[in-house]
């Protein structure tokens, strides 16, 4: 098998493949679709009122900003009144399904319950780009709204033409166009049954179409719940790992004993001798498939001991930060302002952020099925069209022979951009000539999924006589450029990301490198404030011109009673705050920690966060995203850290890698700032970026010692 991700071992990371900076070069897709397969998916009862060739020409523009270029590619009106909206985004718990349903319903003028939303089936939906970078809200929601608004316009035009009345004489009411004077009404089903409906929907989605004004919103801006929520609580919803196909086998893959290990030889006969077991070797790829997982596991056990491997030296977590510095591309850049310090107060610090895992509760899973030379894969991924590309390249297939379906899956947090599990399942299914389900184990997910990159961040700043930042030098080694720029007004600045040689295969994460860069910057700000003899809040405000950041900081200071709590600090208590901006939204948080000096431990007692992402589309879902970001940030701040040596992950389980649980949750005081005057920005990422630095700053306040590494530990712990 010709994959670029050797399943048995990790080679040199391929940055394009990893999609790390979310600007992956992607091929232009061109897929065909027969009416038959379309009807099969939607059910025979639904007659499609659009011409299918219109779909066949869909292709996502680079970046997937507006995948649907014809109305038909975005919206289908059934002759029975069914309204189906199509989008290339995925639902992994972040709320795209509710939000996109709301967007369509709002503009169509129908209740949300009347919209059926099909997501992320590459044979049906337009390529709206991967689901990452908080992109669904600012890009796909407007795209869906434009499509839906165009459909509504068609309905109005159709009604006016039928009744020979002016546009002003009709109105939308309960999902229908009404003509009050004659008491007549027409619905989307009537439009679908009209003679030229198909032709009308071939037109491209007009870039300028009148949208429902924010103040008129009925559906957007309200707490619509996830449309398939009931199926979640009843267990009926099928996640990728739940998909079953007739005759399906269960797969297991031989994993290398260490990163960088290469398979030299293996004896397959003992597994091949087992009844009903399929064994595949394709260069470094070795896998088995059997009628159940235990049998597959047994078969793999029979042969894994016979495998001979070559190993290569691998860095360990002990030496990680030294390793990243030594391998910095072109060396660690010097401070260009070093000659301008005369007489100024200068502070220089180094911050360290470890590798961590996303650890979504559903590990990677894929079901692959080959039929007539065509491949269908159901998998959990944030990037359906890119996975299709990986499969078509790996198996030398034209894209239209590969269909990738992403059922609503068990989360990604930036960790499921790649298609390795899909490739493995497809290779097994090809050999077995039967559908194969491959579900990674927790250990595999912890070991072979890509990691949030580690970082070494060097920061140096000088303060002028007035206590303002005169020069600012900030270098991120290895983890990425997101939020490497400072939002503060400083005299001169030099903010850079410098690549290094990754010690582990790394990739995207919730807010990317913004978690690392905000940690370093915001902790450094507190250290500078201390050097300037200023209060951390006052010091930040003195350097802030961004009104939105000022507003969330002010909100947090007020709600948290920053001044009061800071002054009446108890012996074991500390308060800290942090702010930041990313992906078009702004956030600030203040936290209170309680330190147990005897046990060198601490507990986060309270987190107050103010978050603003423009106009709020769904306050209930937004609250979930903010809460989730805070809790995930808490895990990274308190405990999460990959330990590795000799190419092996040493803590590849929830027992050794303890993620937050119920009793870790502090008192949460969350303030969602609604700004109807601003466009809506995504919210899945930014709320996380302030948690670790606010906690570190609170520990600094409580103990007088600044934690400069994550996870935050007390001195001597």
């Amino acid at each position: 098998m010709n994959t670029r991700l050797p399943p048995g071992g990790i080679g040199q990371p391929d940055y394009e493949e990893l999609n790390y900076d979310e600007l992956v070069e992607r091929v232009d897709y061109d897929f065909g679709l027969s009416r038959r397969s379309f009807v099969k998916v939607f059910g025979a009862g639904l007659l499609i009122a659009v011409s299918l060739p219109a779909l066949a020409q869909e292709s996502g523009r680079r970046g997937g900003r507006d995948g649907a270029q014809s109305l038909a590619a975005r919206i289908h009106l059934g002759k029975d009144g069914t309204i189906t909206v199509l989008a290339g985004k995925v639902e992994g718990g972040q709320g795209a399904r509710a939000e996109l349903t709301q967007a369509a319903a709002e503009e169509l003028g129908v209740p949300a319950g009347q919209v059926q939303l099909v997501l992320a089936d590459t044979s049906l939906v337009p390529d709206d780009g991967g689901t990452y970078g908080s992109g669904t809200t600012p890009r796909t929601v407007p795209s869906v709204r434009r499509g839906a608004a165009a459909a509504r316009k068609l309905l109005f035009e159709f009604a006016c033409a039928q009744w020979k009345v002016e546009r002003g004489a009709v109105e939308m009411r309960e999902g229908k166009v009404f003509h009050a004077a004659s008491q007549r009404s027409l619905s989307y089903a009537d439009l679908a049954n009209s003679d030229n409906a198909a032709k009308l929907f071939e037109q491209s989605v007009p870039p300028e179409v009148e949208l429902v004004a924010v103040k008129e919103w009925q559906v957007l801006g309200t707490p619509v719940s996830r449309p398939n929520a009931r199926d979640i609580v009843t267990g009926v919803h099928q996640y990728p790992s739940d998909i079953a196909r007739p005759g399906m086998l269960y797969g297991k893959i031989l994993r290398a004993p260490a990163f960088g290990a290469r398979l030299v030889s293996i004896e397959l006969a003992p597994a091949k001798a087992l009844k009903d077991v399929v064994v595949v070797q394709d260069d470094q790829f070795v896998g088995v498939a059997a009628p159940n997982s235990s049998l597959a596991g047994d078969a793999l056990d029979k042969i894994s001991g016979t495998a001979k491997w070559t190993t290569a030296p691998q860095p360990s977590s002990q030496e990680l930060f030294e390793y990243l510095k030594q391998n910095a591309d072109g060396g660690v850049p010097p401070n260009p302002f070093a000659g301008e310090f005369a007489g100024a107060k200068v502070l220089r610090q180094t911050y360290q952020v470890p590798y961590i895992q996303h650890a979504p509760l559903e590990p990677r899973a894929a079901v692959a099925e080959w039929k007539d030379g065509k491949l269908t894969v159901w998998t959990g991924s944030q990037n359906p069209f890119a996975i299709r590309g990986e499969l078509s390249r790996a198996f030398h297939l034209a894209d239209e022979r590969v269909r990738v379906v992403i059922p609503d899956f068990g989360a990604g947090y930036g960790g499921k951009h790649t298609g390795e599990c899909a490739l493995e399942a497809a290779r097994l299914a090809q050999a077995a000539d039967k559908p194969v389900s491959l579900r990674w184990t927790r250990e595999e997910e912890f070991t072979w999924a890509y990691f949030r990159p580690a970082a070494v961040i060097e920061a140096e700043a000088s303060l002028d006589a007035g206590g303002k930042i005169a020069t600012w030098h900030f270098i991120n080694l290895n983890s990425g450029p997101s939020a490497v720029e400072t939002p503060y007004s400083v005299g001169k600045k030099n903010c850079r990301y410098v690549a290094s040689k990754p010690a582990l295969r790394h990739g995207s994460y919730r807010a990317l490198a913004a978690t690392a860069n905000n940690f370093a910057r915001e902790v450094f700000m507190d250290e500078l404030a201390a050097a300037a003899g200023a209060d951390p809040l006052a010091f930040r405000l003195a350097h802030l011109e961004d009104r939105r950041l000022q507003a969330v900081l002010g909100k947090v200071a007020q709600e948290f009673d920053w001044i009061g709590r800071r002054q009446k600090k108890g012996a074991n208590l500390g308060t800290g705050l942090a702010c930041g901006t990313e992906k078009g939204s702004v956030v600030a948080a203040a936290v209170e920690v309680e330190v147990d000096h005897e046990h060198k431990s601490f507990k986060v007692r309270r987190v107050c966060q103010a978050f603003e992402c423009g106009k709020i589309l769904n306050p209930a879902n937004l609250l979930s995203q903010v809460q989730g970001g805070i809790i995930m940030g808490l895990g990274a701040a308190l405990r999460e850290e990959m330990q590795f040596a000799d190419g092996k992950i040493l803590n590849a389980s929830f027992r050794k890698y303890p993620v937050p649980r119920f009793d870790d949750v502090p008192e949460l005081d969350i303030h969602l700032v609604d700004r109807p005057d601003l466009a809506s920005a995504g919210a899945g990422e930014t709320p996380i970026i302030v948690i670790a630095p606010a906690i570190a700053n609170a520990v600094f306040h409580a103990t007088g010692v600044t934690p400069r590494s994550l996870p935050v530990r007390l001195l001597g712990a």
């Binding site: 719940s225 079953a244 159940n292 047994d298 509760l361 609503d408 929830f654 027992r655 649980r661 009793d663």
Partner: protein
């Protein structure tokens, strides 16, 4: 190899690898671990399971056992499977019986996405062998609703929109139902102590807690 994994406590075998309580947690109670490993009742430790877990942990070659007929009550109906008795209940539920509402999350009882009820007790099906439920009563998430009528715990989780990706939800629901089956008068803190075993990686804990409060105080009193 086994010596490092198996420890004796109270005259019974304990598996280090299935100590689902965090080691740093104060409420770690060996008795509860016994219940989780041994399944419900006084059965103690199943040696099939010990072998299975140990071999899985150490990649030792597991020899399949002779297929055995195992009969149990599943969601109120009599079922039987004829299979290797060492297989986990989770695997048999999902792969043989196609009840996929019960999820795999970790395979070692750490996350409780796989929670089912065995004779009413919350049980991690990933570390329970199918042999363990022979002649027992198993309830999965699919068996909770009464036709279209949701179980009150399901209804509360739904009305709070408690979950995000929802992958842990079935386990959470079963955990709460199990806690309340065990002790219908359980206080909130007693229920929450048991829910410590469950992981929600999306961090929906606040909404889950609210939903659990709603279950415990349906009249609204004490409901934040």
């Amino acid at each position: 190899m086994l010596a490092g994994v198996l420890i004796f406590a109270g005259g019974k075998l304990l598996l280090e690898s299935v100590l689902f309580e965090h080691q740093f947690r104060e409420n770690y109670q060996p008795q509860r671990v016994m219940t989780a490993i041994g399944g419900p009742g006084e059965k103690g430790v199943d040696l099939f399971k010990v072998r299975r877990i140990v071999s899985a942990k150490h990649h030792a070659v597991r020899e399949p056992l002779m297929e055995t007929k195992i009969s149990f009550t599943l969601n109120g109906k009599a079922r039987s499977v004829t299979t290797d008795p060492q297989r986990s209940l989770l695997e048999v539920l999902r792969e043989d019986l196609r009840l996929t509402g019960t999820k795999y999350g970790c395979g070692e009882g750490q996350c409780r996405a796989c929670t089912v009820l065995v004779n009413g007790a919350s049980t991690a099906s990933c570390i329970t062998s199918v042999a363990d439920v022979d002649q027992q009563a198993v309830t999965t998430i699919e068996g909770l609703a009464d036709g279209d009528k949701l179980h009150p715990v399901q209804a509360a989780f739904l009305s709070e929109g408690a979950f995000q990706c929802g992958y842990c939800t079935a386990g959470m629901v079963m955990g709460v139902v199990g806690a309340l089956t065990e002790n219908p008068q359980a206080s909130e803190s007693e229920v929450m102590a048991k829910m410590q075993k469950h992981i929600c990686r999306c961090g929906s804990y606040v909404k889950y807690s609210k939903a659990i409060k709603r279950v415990l105080a349906p009249s609204g009193k004490g409901h934040a």
